[in-house]
């Protein structure tokens, strides 16, 4: 049997937390003791409890929210941090999350969404080094290829290319194609 997915919920509303619990099957998900706010020792708690998924209401992050999010993520790199959103949150902050769970999401989609967001992490625990495939994708990006062209060249689907791109960005911290091109040059992967 597959190990159950450990879920930690950080959300102030009892209604929302209980609603979430009722949507997740106990045979598949274990809900750890929930939090109503982000405690000062969040990082320690995460390294102790080892959740696979952290469902976090972004409005609970203190200023500067991005920095706090980074320190939470660093407590457990393989953990998927999911934004639980029901009001406006800055897109630049949202983009730092693994995925977004909108409060209006259909009930039957919630478990699926959580399942998807912890899958790649469970397979791939190699940390920050780019895999061979990711390096290939990076080089083609740096040379100016589109995702479609890369998919054709490497004989993989666009979806897979995009997953590689996401992983490259997660590992290097670099988002733009221009930035990735510089990264490739500095690492002698392409000629400048």
């Amino acid at each position: 049997m597959k190990p159950k997915i450990q879920v930690l919920v950080c959300e102030p509303s009892d209604i929302v937390r209980e609603g979430l619990r009722s949507l997740l099957d106990e045979d598949e998900f274990v809900l750890q003791a929930p939090m109503r706010e982000v405690p000062a020792d969040m990082a320690q708690r995460i390294s102790r409890q080892q959740p696979d998924i952290l469902i976090l209401n972004p409005t609970l992050l203190n200023t500067p929210p991005r920095m706090q999010l980074v320190s939470i993520q660093q407590a457990r790199m393989s953990m998927a941090v999911v934004a639980l959103v029901y009001e406006y949150v800055e897109p630049s902050l949202l983009s730092q999350f693994k995925t977004v769970l909108d409060i209006r999401e259909k009930g039957n989609r919630v478990a699926q969404l959580l399942r998807e967001c912890c899958q790649p992490e469970m397979e791939d625990e190699e940390g920050y080094e780019l895999s061979e495939r990711e390096t290939e994708v990076l080089v083609l990006l740096a040379k100016g290829c589109s995702s479609k062209e890369i998919a054709d060249k490497l004989n993989i689907s666009i979806h897979t290319v995009n997953t590689h791109r996401k992983n490259i960005t997660r590992k290097t911290g670099i988002k733009s194609v221009a930035g990735l091109a510089v990264y490739a040059m500095l690492h002698n992967l392409v000629v400048g």
Binding site: G173, K175, S176, A178, G179, Y183, L186, G192
Partner: protein
């Protein structure tokens, strides 16, 4: 929500103490420092600015979760919006980017030919992109807004000129800082590199707010005017 955001009766000095980066927005309104004990309301009256509009900008600039409501937008006097945005553009182009360029050229000079040329190249491309983005807004979006404000009808510019492009401008600055402190060997010029990284981060934070102002104020306002015209 009332009580959490800036109001017209607060002292301007308290507002700036809450968020010191608002000092950067003052020249764009034509407000000089030296507030004394005067309130936001009094300062705005002194410089002939609609206080609702100024507060709107201050609040978006400061509180991530602040979202002006539609009625509020309706009542606000938007006459200083385009001058404000244009002044922001001038500030980025004529002050911040040259400032960053000076630091960057210095770092590029110390980092050796290979790194230097890669950095200069990246920055030049970036500057071009910023200029192009601002130009397209000033050429297409602002005149369109002004014609709507005057009750005229004009063709809507293609939406790609609107706020969405900003994310890319902000992302690239983030990338540049990552590259600078992760991959450039900085022996002997670490201080210069730090200065550069901080200058870029400051611009990046400011551009992010600028994007929010366009996203939360400019766009909804244009949409409101368009609806009013259709209706």
């Amino acid at each position: 929500m009332i009580g959490r955001f800036f109001t017209s009766r607060m002292k301007m000095a308290d507002v700036v103490a809450t968020n010191h980066t608002l000092i950067l927005a003052m020249p764009r309104f034509g407000i000089p420092l030296g507030f004394g004990e005067r309130s936001v309301q009094e300062i705005c009256a002194q410089y002939g600015l609609p206080v609702d509009f100024v507060l709107l900008i201050f609040n978006v600039y400061t509180f991530d979760d602040y979202l002006p409501d539609e009625d509020g937008l309706m009542r606000t006097d938007f006459s200083p919006l385009v001058p404000y945005l244009e002044a922001s553009h001038r500030y980025y182009l004529n002050e911040r980017l040259p400032h960053i360029e000076r630091h960057l050229l210095h770092v590029a000079g110390s980092a050796g030919e290979r790194y230097g040329s890669i950095l200069k190249h990246f920055f030049e491309d970036y500057r071009k992109e910023v200029v192009e983005h601002f130009d397209s807004e000033e050429r297409d979006v602002f005149p369109y807004l002004e014609s709507l404000m005057n009750g005229g009808r004009a063709e809507r510019p293609v939406s790609e000129h609107f706020a969405d492009n900003h994310t890319d401008l902000v992302d690239k600055l983030g990338d540049l800082t990552q590259i600078l402190y992760k991959y450039i060997p900085c022996e002997g010029f670490a201080e210069e590199l730090n200065e550069l990284v901080f200058a870029i981060m400051q611009l990046s934070a400011d551009l992010e707010k600028h994007a929010l102002i366009e996203e939360k104020i400019l766009l909804p306002y244009i949409q409101q005017l368009e609806r009013r015209q259709e209706g």
